[in-house]
Amino acid sequence: MDIIWGNVGKVLSDQTFELNLTHRKDGNKNTYSDIEKIRISETDFMSLPADINNYTKELVEENLSGVFVKCEIKDKDEEGNWISSVSHSGQGGY
């Protein structure tokens, strides 16, 4: 599975955002630009609703804007968004 990391940039909808990439896994099958569009398939952010259908653009902005995340790429949708599992990546401190 391809993995990319970066900071959540512009939130586009209740389930999509732009990712400003900072890291790419060695051996990724696809090539990724510095900004990619991500569609959230699932997250581990407990501050977001458990059911992704209850996400709103405002909630995603409030909880994810600027956050450093890991995106495990599952597929690509018809609009060109990478369908990804979005999760915390590591720790900024203790």
Partner: protein, 260 residues
């Protein structure tokens, strides 16, 4: 050119007359408050013996206890581990003056108008103290500790001011210094994150002041962990062993809560 960020050093018996100094750590005027001779060396050595016999495969165990930020997506597990860790730490401090209680008692001198207690959430106690073990080659990358940002789903994140206390149980022979930079975290710094832990060195590129300290065994330090800091690589055969405990409060609130 980097200038030295001044620190404050007091002795254990000078706390009461210096209890206003913490505000200078919070606002960054000073880098660190060092309380010399906080905990007696004989007790430190007993703790070291107990840790060494409990951790025979020394290089595999990096901490004893629980840290909240390692469990931000596993809240139920955190509180379960916190309870287990309570028992383990009590055994390590058995029949000694519990250093965590001593830290609490010291905090009550700094905050005479506030109640000091272990943080509780939904009747569950947070973990109280984590012992970190750094052996030869170990270090901690530049990082900051900010529960308000990292653990939004936890009640401790609601307190606006966070400090960090660290008791030095054993110092390394060489290396293992703590370096603090006069640069506090901003959200835009998240672009400098490392995948696993901490930040690239670029995050402190514009910092004009820093300090490098190596407290002695038995010393307690208090820092504002929102300022970036790192631990330099440990050298020599002796492990660097510390006990860490966070505290948080609000300026006009009645409580100081502690956790790890």
């Amino acid at each position: 050119m980097l200038q030295s960020w001044p620190s404050i050093t007091i002795d254990q018996n000078e706390i009461l007359e210096n209890n206003k100094k913490l505000s200078k750590i919070i606002d960054g005027e000073f880098s660190v408050l060092i309380i010399k001779n906080f905990y007696d060396k004989d007790s430190c050595n007993t703790i070291i013996q107990r840790i060494n016999s409990n951790t025979p495969n020394q290089h595999q165990i990096k901490k004893i206890g629980v840290s909240l930020v390692s469990h931000i997506t596993r809240k139920v597990e955190y509180f379960a581990e916190a309870d287990k860790a309570r028992k383990t730490l009590r055994e390590i401090f058995f029949e000694l003056e519990d250093p965590r209680k001593k830290i609490h008692s010291t905090l009550s001198k700094f905050f005479p108008d506030k109640e000091i207690s272990i943080a509780v959430e939904n009747s569950k106690k947070y973990a109280c103290g984590v012992i970190r073990l750094h052996e030869f080659g170990d270090s901690a990358a530049i990082h900051r500790d900010n529960v308000s940002y990292e653990a939004k789903n936890n009640d401790v994140s609601k307190f606006p001011i966070q400090l960090s206390t660290v008791l030095y149980i054993q110092q390394s022979e060489n290396g293992g210094e703590l370096v603090l930079y006069k640069k506090s975290w901003e959200k835009s710094d998240e672009r400098f994150r490392n995948i696993e832990f901490g930040y690239k060195r670029d995050v402190v590129a514009n910092s004009t002041q820093h300090v490098k300290i190596k407290p002695n065994q038995g010393d307690l330090i208090i820092i504002n962990p929102n300022y970036y800091h790192e631990i330099l690589p440990v050298k020599g055969s002796k492990r660097r062993i510390t006990l860490g405990l966070f505290l948080a409060f609000s300026k006009y609130g009645k409580k100081v809560v502690t956790w790890s």
